[in-house]
Point group: C2
Chain length 581, copies 2
């Protein structure tokens, strides 16, 4: 038996007990005649004491060889500490060892294993198993564990059935690229890894399972951006006989439960706004609702007055910075630099503010004081405030204004980590036009149902269709999204056609689904949550990687395993494949 | 709102309520002036009644178009049935519809959707979503759901942390073939799908997580046998600071809990026998313990008496068939045919039994009555019994005898479905010699620790080493297996060497693990359970396919999706691959 107790559980009540502990040496403090060794495991830290003239001299001798991260087993008596440590749950006691065994030695780790490590990211990725010993990562992995258990408990309680769907499926590239898996038994043929279990969960509704869920890995072969992973985890759900309203109600219930049971936080009521309202008020479909500073639309006030920049713009959009009238030239320049960053993409920034009771602006050459005042009034901006204005093509300007709003919210400290403001955004457009491909793409996915009353326009004006689709947004982050699906074959056919698929292509890729829709498919809808993202939001971090035990780097590489890697010629031959020149 | 209640919940207490139900039409019974329509969902069946002169004539007219599996929504009043059906939970009531909407029509399904279907297997696989509507599959999927929830609940309670390990890993073919995934971002390089998360769970022990679990998909590209799936689900677990004994105790605890909480069955105490004892007593390492009929070893009695068949055999092994003295010539011939089947592989079968008080045998030309009697006595066979004897090369003979024992157990009705007899088999050999490859293979896997006291023989006599490995067997089926792992680099190096890996190969494939063993790896061990198999045993079925929502067929093909399939030339090009001629 390696231990009678773990390193976090002994208390003063255990005084006098003979115990066996096993763990890692956190540190050795040597005060000459007394030596303390801190033993660590994931449950805590327990101190052992070696005292000249009291402890077995052989043990004292042995302890000279101890190094950081050695694994040892200690048999001894629990005794009361002379000077207690109230910061430690085991701080009242220490162990007086009678026997010590070194279970394994350790080389000196390449970085410190503490709350904050001195190791760089690449090094910590290579030795991920050592980084995972650090307390912040242990907390993250534990949070994830709890969230996994609570999610399933809650969905089980809601009457959802957990059903595993296959990983080796069929390649039907729509949108993102599939990872494919060559088949050896069927030469020249490939499976694909799922980007999501979408079609399977719909089939399960057609099978009558009524409510399905799964916490499942999904795969997307994308050109990687920071903090995207080629494999990621989804909470995937589907329900039968539901409207959009039913789905939203069910899943805000889930997320409220999770925040309550895992974090002890009561989420406030969800706001619900349509996509078009969200774009109008915030310039984005995932607004951070922890603060106001909604966009001010100035086209009517600012266009047609001879200022060419505004006159040539589709949109002229303002954001009011409360208390901004005191901003210096330098501070305003910094904001201008911010909006000009390629990630934000604006051409420049116009300001209007009071200075000693006088209205000042970077465009006062082009506009009268009355005109400027009418903007300030329209924007509800007072003497202490500053109105910041962006102009240009509609989408870019709204995006830049939304980024500026977030930046200003950060500066004013309005985006508090411990505050959570959840939101539903609904009624997304069905399609968006892809200028490059010269065709319409599905904004959600091709199985999303259009609003019934819009369906008639699908051939003549697909861009105008709204979908029964919804996103859950918390603090400006999209945590989940879903839709009510198409449950009739004729509608599905029309949507595939609008997306530019020929009848043949549609049948080749999704024939099984279209056929299934003819055998009594019930109305159904669902949602998928990004589980890694949900962990990171609840854990208060920006990075999903901190919540994944073994993540890949930004080049989709596992630097610990050194993967991907070459495979043998024999393996390639068996798969009937050749690497190109 | 599509429904106020599901189809399984209305009772006589609901009489008079206005309700809305949605579901599938199970059947329509037309008695002229009265028509009953059974509405079905996964919760049950509710009858609705349409009565000439009472119901809205438009609804009666509409119902003429109803077909099997139509999806309809019914609004109406709950009324008491005239003739109640005590077999149905909703059998006291029926609905008098005021409004009916057809939500979706259905073509006539290609097979009947009932307890027993009239559809052949291939057809039911193609329309799996319809097969999944049948009650037996619904029960199986529900059992699996419960088992998933209970397994996690139990392991969480035991202090295990659920940690997800990656799916895109590194190809390190040892034993079975890997499925590989070409990388687009790193041309000519491949990921592999995990055959198990073995190395990751060991790293997690090195990271100090102490107890890990995961219910996870694994992948093996094997030449398929009946009832094997290329992707399968494992309950994967690992623990630190444990001996073989600790692991066995923990996981028999898990399985007992699962049987209790899911089936309401108390498992009896686990027997524990060593591999060599198991082979000796039963001829197999996964004996069915629901009955006796242990093997009788007759070499000392039967060899060296001039009967060449026995004299040339390594083993002469008997099984006693109780009450077998009454077996006719024809029945004995049938048993001989059984052992001669290629799946059993014996050359023939010798019998000895009493006939009218006289000993009769197929070999009485070669042996005296006294000799035959001494065999019967040694086998504890009485006047009513028959001794059946197999002889030949050791492994083949033990295997055939074990198969014969199972067959006889079946014939005597000793293998009862509702009885469960769990067992641990432990102390497996470390290596087995592969005659074809002229080298030793790991019986469990290369990370299994050999018995400490045997390690000295690893270079001179690897075949003699025993491992700290164990299998859990229930009713003759291996449901799980595991081992205490190697936690020291030097031992791991020796094992790789014994397996014929050069130092370079070992480093290329498992360098990360060997390095990790140098940074304070604790003693650790674990187990993995075949989850599909566990479901099928608990559900009382032979086939794991019945417990997988979307299984592949014996050729690893998904006939519903038609996968694997060709991918586009464009996809191949992006992956830098070519299909060979």
């Amino acid at each position: 038996m390696y231990r009678t107790h773990n390193c976090g559980e002994l208390r003063i009540a255990d005084k006098g007990k003979k115990v066996v502990l096993s763990g890692w040496i956190q540190r050795v403090r040597d005060k000459g005649s007394i030596k303390w060794v801190d033993l660590r495991d994931r449950f805590g830290l327990t101190q052992m004491i070696l005292e000249e003239g009291v402890s077995d001299p052989a043990l004292i001798e042995m302890s000279k060889g101890f190094g950081r991260e050695f694994v040892i087993q200690v048999e001894g008596e629990v005794s009361e500490r002379f000077s207690k440590n109230p910061e430690l749950s085991t701080g009242d006691i220490e162990i007086r060892p009678e026997k010590i065994e070194v279970l394994n030695e350790s080389k000196t780790p390449p970085f410190t294993i503490e709350e904050e490590s001195d190791g760089g990211e690449e090094l910590r990725m290579k030795y991920r198993y050592l980084d995972l010993r650090r307390p912040p990562l242990q907390r993250n992995i534990t949070l994830r564990h709890k969230l996994l258990q609570e999610t399933r408990k809650c969905l089980d309680g809601f009457g959802f059935t957990e059903i595993e769907t296959p990983f080796l499926i069929k390649s039907t590239p729509e949108g993102a690229r599939d990872y494919v898996v060559p088949s050896r038994l069927h030469p020249s043929e490939f499976y694909a890894l799922p980007q999501s279990p979408q079609t399977f969960k719909q089939l399960l509704m057609i099978s009558g399972y009524d409510r399905y869920f799964q916490i499942v890995k999904c795969f997307r072969d994308e050109d990687l951006r920071a903090d995207r992973q080629p494999e990621f985890t989804q909470i995937d759900c589907e329900m039968s006989f539901v409207s959009m309203e039913d789905v939203m109600e069910t899943f805000e219930g889930l997320i409220k439960e999770l925040f309550k049971n895992v974090l002890g936080t009561e989420l406030p009521e969800y706001e619900r706004i349509s996509y078009s309202e969200s774009m109008h008020r915030f310039g984005t479909d995932r607004p951070d609702m922890r603060f106001g500073m909604e966009l001010v639309h100035l086209e009517e006030h600012a266009k047609g007055k001879g200022f060419k920049v505004f006159d040539d713009s589709e949109r002229v959009v303002g954001v009011v910075l409360e208390g901004g009238s005191s901003y210096s030239r330098k501070q305003i320049d910094a904001l201008t630099d911010f909006v000009r960053r390629p990630q934000v993409g604006a051409g420049g920034l116009v300001y209007v503010k009071y200075n000693d009771g006088e209205l000042k602006s970077s465009v006062d050459k082009f506009f009268s004081k009355e005109e400027l005042r009418s903007w300030m009034d329209h924007a509800n901006a007072g003497k202490e405030d500053m109105l910041l204005i962006l102009a240009g093509e509609a989408n870019r300007t709204l995006f830049a204004a939304s980024e500026l709003r977030l930046e200003l919210g950060d500066r004013l400290g309005l985006r508090k980590k411990e505050e959570f403001k959840p939101l539903w955004v609904y009624d997304f457009p069905m399609f968006e036009y892809d200028e490059e491909g010269k065709r319409f793409n599905a904004i959600h996915h091709p199985f999303t149902s259009p609003k019934k009353e819009h369906l008639a326009l699908i051939e003549t004006d697909p861009g105008s269709l709204l979908a029964n689709a919804y996103d859950m947004v918390i603090n400006g982050v999209e945590v989940g999204g879903g839709s009510v699906r198409i449950h009739k074959r004729d509608v599905q056919e029309k949507v595939f056609k609008a997306l530019g698929l020929t009848e043949e292509e549609a049948n080749e890729k999704f024939g099984f689904l279209m056929e299934a829709l003819e055998y009594g498919a019930p109305p159904h809808g669902g949602i998928a949550f990004g589980f890694d993202r949900l962990c990171s939001i609840m854990g208060g971090s920006e990075s999903i990687r901190d919540y994944i035990a073994f993540p890949k780097n930004n080049a989709a590489r596992d630097v610990m395993l050194n993967s991907p890697s070459m495979i043998s010629e024999e393996q390639l031959k068996e798969l009937n494949l050749k690497v190109r020149g």
